[in-house]
C-alpha cells in the first residue's frame, strides 16, 4: 500500500514519522504473529496530538471488508492503547475507530488495501475532539463519575397507581460507542447539503447556544423525568430550551397549519405494555442531531424501565423527503439519584460565537 498522509497537514506529520520509525523497531519482532497463512492483520496504537499513546479510553476498532460487508472488531487495550485485528483476507477495508469521549475525535479511513497475508502496523494519529483535550466539559467523564457515585440503584421497576412503569428520576444517558450509530441513509441532495454544511462550519448549532438535539434523550447529559398520568415532563441540562412536554392524555399532533415547525417538535406518548412509545413530529428543518432533514422528520422513541436503575431507549427516525430509509439506534440511561438539574443559560456570556465569525443559518 502506498503511504498516504491525511489532510490534517504538516503539523503532525514529522512527529508521526518519527514515532513510526520508533515503532518499527518496537514491533518488528512481533510481526509474524499477525499473519495466518493468506490472512493478514491491522495493528497499532492510538496517539494524541501531543504524541502520547492514548490509554484508558473505551474504543473499538472496526474493520469492514468493503466487498463482503463483513465487519471485524476488537477493543483497544485500555492499559497499553494497542489494538490488533487479525484474520483479514486480502481486500479493501474501511477502518473506523469511534472513541466515546469529547476529548478525542473518531478516526476513519476508507479504502485501505490489504494484500494476502499482509500485516499493517503503525501509530494512528487521533485529533482532539470537541473539547480539545481540556478535561473541562467532557460529558462522558461527568456521566461516568455521576453513575459511579449513584450507589446501589438495584430494585424493581417503580410503578404508577395505574400499574404503568414510572420513568421519573434523574438519569444520565450513557454515551454510545459511535460505531453503534449507523450513518443516516440520506438521499443525494441531503448528503450533498450535509457536506456543504460541514465545509462552511455550520454543522454545530450548539456553538450558538441553540438546541443540541431534536430528541434530547440522545444527549449524554443529566436528564430528569417527572411523570404524571397525563404528562411526562422531560428536563435536560446543558441544552436549550432544556424541557420537553410529552402529552400522555391521548391527544393527537396538532394540524400542520396550526403548528409552527419547532426545534423539539410536538411529542405525544402512549403505552404498549410496559413500554412508553413517544411519537414526535412537527420539527423544523434546522433542528439538530439528525443531519440534513425536512419538516417530514418523524421520530419514535420506545422507552422502558426494566428495573429501577436502567432506562432502555430505542429511537427510530424517518424522513421520506430527505432519506432513503429509517435511521435509529438503541441506547440506555443510568439512574443517578444523587444528582439534580442545575440551571444553564447558555447565551449569558457566549464569547465563542464571536470567534465563529458568522451568524447561524442552519442551511448553506
Amino acid at each position: 500500500m502506498e503511504e498516504r498522509l491525511g489532510s490534517r497537514g504538516g503539523e503532525y506529520m514529522s512527529a508521526f514519522i518519527r514515532r513510526l520509525a520508533a515503532l518499527a523497531v518496537l514491533l518488528a519482532s512481533a510481526g509474524a504473529s499477525l499473519a495466518q497463512g493468506s490472512l493478514g492483520g491491522i495493528a497499532g496504537r492510538l496517539v494524541d496530538p501531543n504524541g502520547a499513546v492514548i490509554v484508558n479510553v473505551d474504543a473499538t476498532i472496526y474493520v469492514k471488508n468493503t466487498a463482503t460487508g463483513e465487519i471485524k472488531s476488537t477493543p483497544l487495550s485500555k492499559a497499553t492503547g494497542e489494538f490488533i485485528v487479525t484474520g483479514l483476507k486480502a481486500g479493501v477495508y474501511d477502518v473506523n475507530i469511534p472513541i466515546s469521549s469529547a476529548m478525542y475525535s473518531t478516526f476513519e479511513q476508507k479504502s485501505v488495501t490489504l494484500k494476502a497475508g499482509e500485516n499493517m502496523r503503525g501509530d494512528i494519529n487521533i485529533a482532539w475532539g470537541m473539547n480539545l483535550g481540556t478535561i473541562g466539559d467532557d460529558p462522558t467523564m461527568l456521566g461516568a463519575d455521576m453513575r459511579k457515585r449513584a450507589g446501589d440503584v438495584s430494585g424493581s421497576t417503580p410503578r404508577m397507581a395505574d400499574g404503568k412503569p414510572d420513568l421519573s428520576g434523574m438519569w444520565y444517558v450513557i454515551p454510545l460507542d459511535r460505531g453503534a450509530i449507523p450513518p443516516v441513509p440520506m438521499q443525494k441532495w441531503a448528503d450533498d447539503m450535509q457536506k456543504q454544511l460541514n465545509k462552511i462550519n455550520q454543522q454545530y448549532a450548539a456553538v450558538y447556544c441553540l438546541p443540541q438535539s431534536a430528541v434530547p434523550t440522545s444527549l449524554p447529559f443529566p436528564h430528569k423525568f417527572v411523570q404524571t398520568k397525563d404528562l411526562l415532563v422531560h428536563i435536560t441540562e446543558f441544552t436549550t430550551p432544556g424541557y420537553r412536554q410529552i402529552f400522555l392524555d391521548g391527544r393527537p399532533h396538532p394540524p400542520a397549519n396550526e403548528w409552527n415547525p419547532a426545534w423539539m417538535g410536538h411529542s405525544v406518548g402512549h403505552w404498549e405494555g410496559d413500554t412508553l412509545v413517544i411519537d414526535t413530529a412537527g420539527f423544523n428543518e434546522i433542528t439538530q442531531g439528525f443531519g440534513v432533514h425536512t419538516e417530514k422528520l418523524h421520530v419514535i422513541e420506545r422507552i422502558s424501565r426494566p428495573n429501577r436503575g436502567l432506562l432502555e431507549i430505542e429511537m427510530t427516525a424517518t424522513d421520506p423527503d430527505a432519506w432513503t430509509g429509517a435511521w435509529g439506534y438503541k441506547y440506555t440511561a443510568g439512574l443517578t439519584p444523587n444528582e439534580e438539574i442545575l440551571e444553564f443559560v447558555c447565551p449569558e456570556n457566549n464569547l465563542d460565537v464571536l470567534h465563529n465569525g458568522q451568524p447561524w443559518r442552519g442551511r448553506p
Binding site: 503511504e3 498522509l5 491525511g6 489532510s7 490534517r8 503539523e11 503532525y12 508521526f16 518488528a28 497499532g44 496530538p49 469529547a102 473518531t106 478516526f107 476513519e108 479511513q109 500485516n119 499493517m120 502496523r121 503503525g122 494512528i124 494519529n125 485529533a127 482532539w128 475532539g129 470537541m130 473539547n131 480539545l132 483535550g133 481540556t134 478535561i135 473541562g136 466539559d137 462522558t140 461527568l142 463519575d145 454515551p175 459511535r178 450509530i181 450513518p183 454544511l197 460541514n198 454543522q203 454545530y204 448549532a205 450548539a206 447556544c209 438535539s213 449524554p220 441540562e237 446543558f238 439538530q288 443531519g291 444523587n338 444553564f344 447558555c346 456570556n349 457566549n350 465563542d352 470567534h355
Partner: protein, 134 residues
C-alpha cells in the same frame, strides 16, 4: 516486515453528521491543538458565567510588558460538580495555567489545569472527587 501507516483525518468535521453534539462548543475551531502553552500571572477578574466560566490574569511577557490574558474554563455547573468552589479562584491569586492557545494569536488560552502558588492544582473542570451540588 513492510511498514504501513494509516492516515489521520480531520475527523472533527467528518463525524459531524448525525452524531449528537457532546460538547457545547467546538474548541477546535477556536484553539490550536498544535499550540500547548503555559502562562503564569496574577488574577484580575473571575467570571462564573455560562456557557463557560472564565478568568483574566496579568502576565508579564519576555519583554517585561504585562498583558491581560483571558483564560477559558468549563461550565460553572461542571466546575461546581468537581473540585471547584465559588472562592477557589480569587482576584490577586498567582496562578499558572496549562492549556491551548487561541488560533487567532490573541492573549487567550483554554485551561487544562490551573496551579496555585501554594502547590494546589485544579483541573479545568474534572477530577475524581465529584462534589455534591444538591
Amino acid at each position: 516486515m513492510k511498514m504501513h501507516r494509516l492516515r489521520a483525518l480531520a475527523a472533527t468535521l467528518l463525524v459531524a453528521v448525525a452524531v449528537p453534539a457532546i460538547a457545547h462548543h467546538s474548541f477546535v475551531a477556536q484553539y490550536d491543538p498544535a499550540k500547548p502553552a503555559t502562562r503564569t500571572g496574577k488574577v484580575t477578574k473571575v467570571e462564573w458565567t455560562n456557557p463557560h466560566a472564565r478568568f483574566y490574569m496579568d502576565v508579564a511577557g519576555a519583554d517585561g510588558k504585562v498583558g491581560n490574558w483571558h483564560v477559558e474554563l468549563g461550565s460553572p455547573n461542571t466546575l461546581l460538580r468537581y473540585a471547584w468552589k465559588r472562592d477557589t479562584l480569587k482576584v490577586g491569586d498567582e496562578v499558572t495555567v496549562e492549556g491551548f492557545l487561541a488560533r487567532d494569536g490573541s492573549d487567550l488560552i483554554n485551561a487544562k489545569t490551573v496551579k496555585f502558588k501554594d502547590g494546589r492544582e485544579v483541573n479545568a473542570g474534572s477530577s475524581s472527587d465529584l462534589t455534591d451540588t444538591r
